[in-house]
Symmetry: C2
Subunit: 210 residues, 2 copies
């Protein structure tokens, strides 16, 4: 419900809240523009990695002026944070309510098996920013996105029926989906993402004894 709808059933502009009604089309437009810039940035990150992302490239990909990107996100860190937030939402929707094999229509084991690849790709795409924002050891386990993943994995393990200590098995699986570990294995040990994804599917099969 918009402020004008709440104030005037006939749809006329409210006299005491001119800014609110003036802002409605502006804000919808701004939201659309913002989404368009973030989608362009997402495509660039998927193609070239977040390290290569520049404000200029996003402007060119979205066919807007550079100034528009700067006005919207402030600087490159602001863009990366907005992108991470946007991407985290898209990623969470994919396993909470998306189509199979990630979403609820697929059997739990299939969902769990697909979940690792989706998560590893999400983490890899935002590696740079996630590493910089990595909380200290004492706060690591309180992070919101980690909790969403933990609850999802635990729920799937219970549905599968592992016959084990599902809370602990969930921690084991969560530990595999960790940005510093991903960074270490790919950058310092030379493993590629495909190997880590295959490793996840094998790990899920072993953990669930399937």
């Amino acid at each position: 419900m918009t402020p004008s709808a709440r104030l005037h059933d006939d749809g006329s502009e409210p006299r005491l809240l001119p800014l609110a009604t003036n802002q409605i089309p502006m804000r919808a437009d701004a939201a659309r523009n913002r989404a368009r810039l973030l989608e362009a940035a997402s495509r660039l990150v998927a193609e070239h990695g977040a390290e290569q992302l520049t404000m200029e490239a996003v402007a060119a990909a979205a066919s807007v002026g550079k100034g528009t990107v700067f006005r919207r996100f402030g600087d490159r860190t602001g863009l990366l944070m907005a992108l991470l937030d946007h991407s985290e939402r898209v990623y969470q929707e994919s396993f909470l309510s998306g189509p199979p094999p990630l979403g609820p229509a697929a059997p739990a084991l299939e969902r769990l098996s697909a979940f690792g690849g989706a998560t590893l790709r999400h983490l890899a795409a935002h590696r740079e920013l996630l590493l910089a924002a990595e909380p200290d050891p004492a706060r690591r386990y309180a992070a919101g996105p980690r909790n969403v993943r933990r609850i999802h994995i635990t729920t799937l393990l219970r549905e599968i029926g592992t016959g084990g200590d599902d809370e602990l098995l969930a921690e084991v699986l969560l530990g595999y989906l960790d940005v510093p570990l991903l960074n270490h294995l790919t950058r310092q040990r030379g493993m590629d993402l495909e190997r880590l994804e295959a490793g996840w599917r094998d790990l899920v099969a072993r953990i669930t004894r399937s």
Copy 2:
């Protein structure tokens, strides 16, 4: 070979190095005293946890004056660090060359299964100091003790013959033996060490499909 033995075959004191010969019995004695203090401190930590450890308690347990403990270790942090170093050495010897089930005389699967409990108890005993010394995410994987554990686990997995990607499976098992995780599960989630130890044995059975 001691300096005096190198300089004087007849065993007399060397005239140019009086401090060196004077130091020999002193140093052996000091090493014995140091070991005695560390063993007393280890017993106290095993009984009451490192949080409860005081210089006074170590002095009383080793039947020496409080001043001796302060002279040897400087302060409580110095004592805890010496204790961690001593304990890490004893712990490493236990699985590298100790008796079964940890040491080389036992079958690899039995050794791996026993390794988790020994490591979790070692980490729990030094939780406080290990947490404070936890390296930042970029350096976490370069830590010496972690590498010793990683090589040991990888070697055992290869001996067992998992049929999987042993380097990745070793990372999964290593991730379970992590001080911040141990701290989170015991302090914030209320699990006890026995549950974590049982979880490890079950995890090893699943990972090795045994």
